[in-house]
Symmetry: C2
Subunit: 457 residues, 2 copies
């Protein structure tokens, strides 16, 4: 089936496609807030109807939380699963929005037209790029070039509690040759990107208890063990002078960057001054001797996400705290084993607890890193499609964050995933005044048509 | 003037004295809560009237806050200033009180009769011991043995904002040969005590800023400086392996315990297992090679009173914090100079701030240690009086806390102070169900009569 008429059709359809997206954006499907439960349901209904209008066999599927939307095109060709999520982040603080977050607007900006509204970039605008690509393809050819399953979740912004049970219960129905995930962004402003590695995540919370209640620091200061000091010592010991993490065996399974990827990343000419400058920093503060991109994509980390002890209000209280706690997360790479690291971390911390103190640990999740096998020809085909659309070589990039869905597709359904998205760094996802560039929406739609074409030829 | 008839009169007066104290306790003079402003005023009026009834020339003296009560006996003999405070702590949580905190009761307990109610021990019961001693003395001899000034404050529980201005404005009127302060306790259950050294206090708050906003730890983790790590490193470095404080020059002015005091303190047979056991600890955790009593009375300390950074709520948020802060206090002894220590501390911390981080400091007060000169014969005279009353050698003790009034008497009015009180460790001051032993009230009153006698003979 020919591609060019499909691309032309996408161009013709752009205004109507934008109107449809605005319609979907008007539904305040905030998944984390029970007050919007009916709206989440309504968004799922809207998608089911829209997919049916393209000819998908679509249905809303109940879960203990918000419903899933599953749609099948049927037909011949490779089996492709497309994933996105229709739920959105909360909108507070509302007073920082220039417009009603659920009254989306097309706005002119110095950088071009944008679609402004909650969910425009994360993830309604992105998931509609694929839907619109399918619509135009169907318009032109009467059928799709692949056996496509669309899988939309409504709980991505609230921890996805129903996701893995649903995947397990419907494994056969959802399994495909490859999964496409559209919830990420371009590299920089203009370079299309396929994420080929995602860092894993291990979350730990440690609470150290010394005295059985907060003490008066005049009465007990100098004789009683202060758990805040113990905690500080532990945190201070987690990195050595070179910024390496000191948990025993931590670097087991951390691969060196391949020469090929090192060269490719160098080609990206990552501007760390700019990246750091935007948040008020100037110098890479990670492991000594590593490229800045390695620090955020391919090296593991250990960060304190929060810590608290004693009196933290205004003014001063001379209390000697009973407890001190910290939330600590590790970003993992390669084949680092999160459960083994948890064990080694807890052992290391426990060994640092002095007499009269005790420690408890809370588990805040553990997921391994994701490493896509770019040898799969789908990757080079998708890369070529993106390169053609953006007239700029698409990059294989890493992602410092952790996108668990890619791992689930691998571990539960046994399929690789390609993470391709069209968001930009300035989209303000999760923040007030979220937007999605109209060009991201348009080029994203065209990109999926090209990718479908390449994957099926 | 003879003592024995005065003591006998105190015994006879006990019931009436107790009734008077209950009257005073019924006035809810909570100084920190503006809702009780009129009650504080009423407590001052009550005291003025009571002191007038004994023959003092007493008056309520306005301040920008709650009034002072100043009373003069006139007459011959040494000039003695007596200090106490008529304001009390708030009473919440009210549901933990067995009785209305302002409906005081005499209760039988396993350890004897107690006066239960807010302020019974801190400090209305204590200040009335001196007033009742004067009353009985006057009853018997028609005059007092010294030229006594009574000075009651109504803002001790709310930071004493009017205290030093009032002392400066009325320096001549308030200056005496010696000051007596009744706001402390016995040593243990039965040993009378005179505090001869008080630790000073330096309060500092440090805030370290890294990135200019909280970052996503996936996106920036590994490349951006985390201020929580910086703070932990600073806190961890404040003590060495032996528990000594590492701030440069910190130990300048820290005296060694005299052999005499060391022997006296050893005689007190301080039970650190018991002291620590009551708060769930078992081992002294202070400076190596120091007596437990040194750790809390005569050695300086550095404690973290509070610290906070990043996300501290329930669950987990993979934030890389913009800021980390800690409240840190130093208890000071001997002639340690709080301002010099502040300077050295800030210099030391500033030198540990890495590139891309900044630090700000907030000042939360600085007061030197108080060291009484026990060579003043008043001390041995008072000690003898207390020993006679309690039939147990009175102890010269230290106090780990900081009682600024003693320092003010020295620095503003140039007079030494003796801190003598009859509270007990289980009085629950500042807590629900505050009490004062009836025996403390009775023996306290008798003690002041004996002290007045000894000081004037």
């Amino acid at each position: 089936m020919t591609l060019d008429p499909v691309l032309a059709r996408i161009d013709e359809n752009l205004d109507a496609a934008t109107e449809r997206l605005l319609d979907l954006l008007r539904i305040p499907s905030i998944s984390t807030d029970p007050a919007y439960k009916a709206d989440c349901d309504r968004a799922a209904d809207w998608l089911v109807e829209d997919l049916k209008s393209i000819g998908f066999e679509a249905s809303k599927r109940a879960t203990p939380g918000h419903p899933m939307v599953v749609a099948h095109s049927g037909g011949d060709g490779p089996r492709i699963l497309f994933y996105g999520h229709y739920d959105v982040q909360p909108v507070d603080p509302l007073d920082l929005w220039d417009n009603d977050p659920f009254d989306p607007q097309i706005q002119d900006t110095a950088k071009g037209k944008v679609i402004r509204g909650r969910g425009s970039s994360d993830d309604k605008g992105q998931l509609m790029t694929f839907v619109e690509a399918c619509r135009s393809w169907k318009d032109i050819h009467g059928t799709l070039p692949a056996n496509i399953t669309i899988f939309f979740e409504g709980e991505e912004e609230s921890g996805s509690p129903s996701l893995t049970p649903f995947m397990r219960d419907n494994a056969e129905e959802l399994t495909a040759d490859i999964a496409l995930i559209c919830d990420t962004g371009l590299y920089g402003e203009h370079t299309p990107a396929i994420i080929t590695q995602l860092r894993g995540l291990l979350g730990e919370e440690i609470t150290i208890t010394g005295p059985n209640k907060d003490l008066h620091s005049g009465m007990y200061g100098g004789i009683a063990m202060n758990p805040a000091r113990v905690l500080a010592k532990i945190i201070a010991s987690l990195h050595d002078e070179d910024g390496r993490i000191t948990v025993p065996n931590f670097y087991d399974g951390v691969p060196e960057l391949s020469n090929e990827l090192a060269a490719a990343w160098d080609d990206l000419k990552f501007d760390e001054k700019d990246f750091l400058g935007s948040v008020g920093l100037s110098e890479p503060a990670g492991e000594k001797g590593r490229r800045p991109l390695e620090m955020i994509w391919s090296r593991p980390t250990c960060e304190v996400n929060g810590m608290t002890s004693g009196y933290t209000g205004d003014g001063f209280k001379t209390v000697l705290p009973s407890k001190a706690s910290a939330k600590i997360s590790f970003r993992l790479v390669g084949t680092q084993d999160p459960l083994k690291i948890r064990e080694d971390f807890r052992k290391m911390v426990s060994a640092m607890i002095p007499a009269d103190c005790s420690v408890t640990f809370s588990d805040h999740g553990a997921g391994p890193a994701g490493q896509m096998s770019t040898e799969d020809p789908a990757f080079s085909k998708a890369r070529e499609a993106l390169t053609d659309e953006f007239e700029k070589t698409a990059a294989y990039v890493g992602c410092g964050g952790s996108i668990p869905i890619a791992g689930y597709f691998k571990t539960i359904l046994g399929m690789d995933a390609m993470l391709i998205g069209f968001g930009k760094d300035d989209d303000q996802i999760h923040s007030p005044n979220e937007k999605y560039d109209l060009s991201s929406f348009h080029k994203g739609t065209r990109s999926w048509a090209r990718i479908l074409h390449n994957l099926t030829n």
